[in-house]
Amino acid sequence: MNCNELRDHYELYAIGVADEPERSEIRAHLNRDCEVCMNGIRKAREVAALLGGTAAPMAPSPRLRARILASVGVEQRRFGWAPFLAAALALSLFAVVYFAGRERDLGNEIARVRDINRQQTIELTRVNEAFAIVNGPDTVVTTFGEGEPKPKGKVFVSPTQGVLLIASNLRPAPSGKAYEMWVIPNGGKPKPAGMFQSSAEGSAMHVQRGSMQDANTIAVTLEPEAGSDAPTSTPLFAAPIRALVP
């Protein structure tokens, strides 16, 4: 058969429904690279492709996509509420832990600020007390340790308000020990006047409020950290003040 006789059968051949003998004839033409039939079949395939899209549009199930991809080794996450619920649960747990942590941190921070505030209040009170003593109209000053490498400093004594000790060259007390100030009355036993520590630089300030009317000497000894009722060691220094009190 010639090409002209086969042309009406190109489309049928292209979609695989050509009858014999046309089917075999077209195949034979194609096998010998017949340009007319090759071109005709190419156009017929285009018509077939166009007809392929004429079916009423329908949607496959959403699972089909996952099936196809799984068949080539791609794991698809299945859509569902489980991931969202898991995410919500995880978020909730995170929020609980996070806010509990935040609350704990906030509580710790508040406690720390309160502690700082308390310390600053104590320091401010001490400074105010020190100023009150220094500025007292009846305050006298005694210097001790001058010209010596040992502890030195000044003692401010107000007979009505108390005593202020400012010292330097006073190395920090050993572990378990602290400095204790003594007010020694004229002819009497030393009275405890408070414990204190010196800084790493060797400076110290100590205030003891109270009447100093009978004070004769201010002394400092190294005592156990808990303090002593009476001196247990030789005074590091002693500042006589009786003569200076009016």
């Binding site: 007809l51 899209g53 009423a56 496959p60 996509r65 196809i68």
Partner: protein, 195 residues
């Protein structure tokens, strides 16, 4: 035959060249994108042939796997993968229909039309919305008998002899309807298909 604007779904703004290249590099995500682009039209075509949703889905899966396994033979620079995909889909569906009906398979033609190289010289925008409208117009112009034989051939894979038996018409009459229908389609679609 109703021609619906399904072409709109398959006419992707971006051509398929990059998609095919990625599939040839065995990028599974490219297969996912191919399905997103052509899955509905492929399913619609196969469902139109086999008329069973479950079977249609199995055949869609077979179609995409077949394309995935044969894509290395497709030259993306010379054509769009869409027409080839639809040809494979139709062949899978008709093959199923013939097997289920105890009919002989035209295996040779199927193997030929499945071959990707045969679709490499087609226009890249063959399945455009504009061409879809022209196909619709051409099909609507056919007489009922002409339209029926085209449907039986394309969607049921019947040969002219089988059509004559199905329709209870003389083979000569059916051949005339087929010849006339194809001639009319060819003339109307002359400007649509490549010259």
């Amino acid at each position: 035959m109703m021609l619906l604007p399904i072409f709109l779904a398959i006419h992707a703004a971006e051509d398929d060249t990059g998609l095919v290249a990625r599939m040839q590099r065995r990028d599974p995500q490219a297969l996912a994108e191919l399905y997103d682009r052509y899955g509905r039209v492929t399913y619609s075509l196969i469902l139109r042939v086999v008329r069973d949703g479950g079977i249609a889905e199995d055949l869609v899966q077979e179609t995409f796997l077949r394309v995935w396994n044969r894509v290395h033979g497709f030259d993306a620079q010379k054509g769009s993968i869409g027409p080839w995909l639809l040809a494979v889909a139709r062949n899978r569906a008709i093959d199923y229909l013939r097997s289920a009906g105890g009919r002989e398979r035209n295996a040779v033609e199927f193997e030929e039309t499945d071959h990707p190289a045969l679709y490499c010289d087609m226009e890249k925008d063959l399945l455009s919305a504009d061409k879809a409208r022209k196909v619709k117009s051409a099909v609507e112009k056919l007489t009922p008998n002409q339209r029926q034989v085209i449907e039986l051939a394309y969607f049921e894979g019947l040969s002219q002899t089988e059509m004559a038996a199905r329709m209870g018409q003389p083979l000569g009459t059916v051949k005339t309807w087929v010849r006339t229908a194809l001639k009319n389609l060819r003339e109307d679609l002359g400007a649509v298909v490549s010259a």
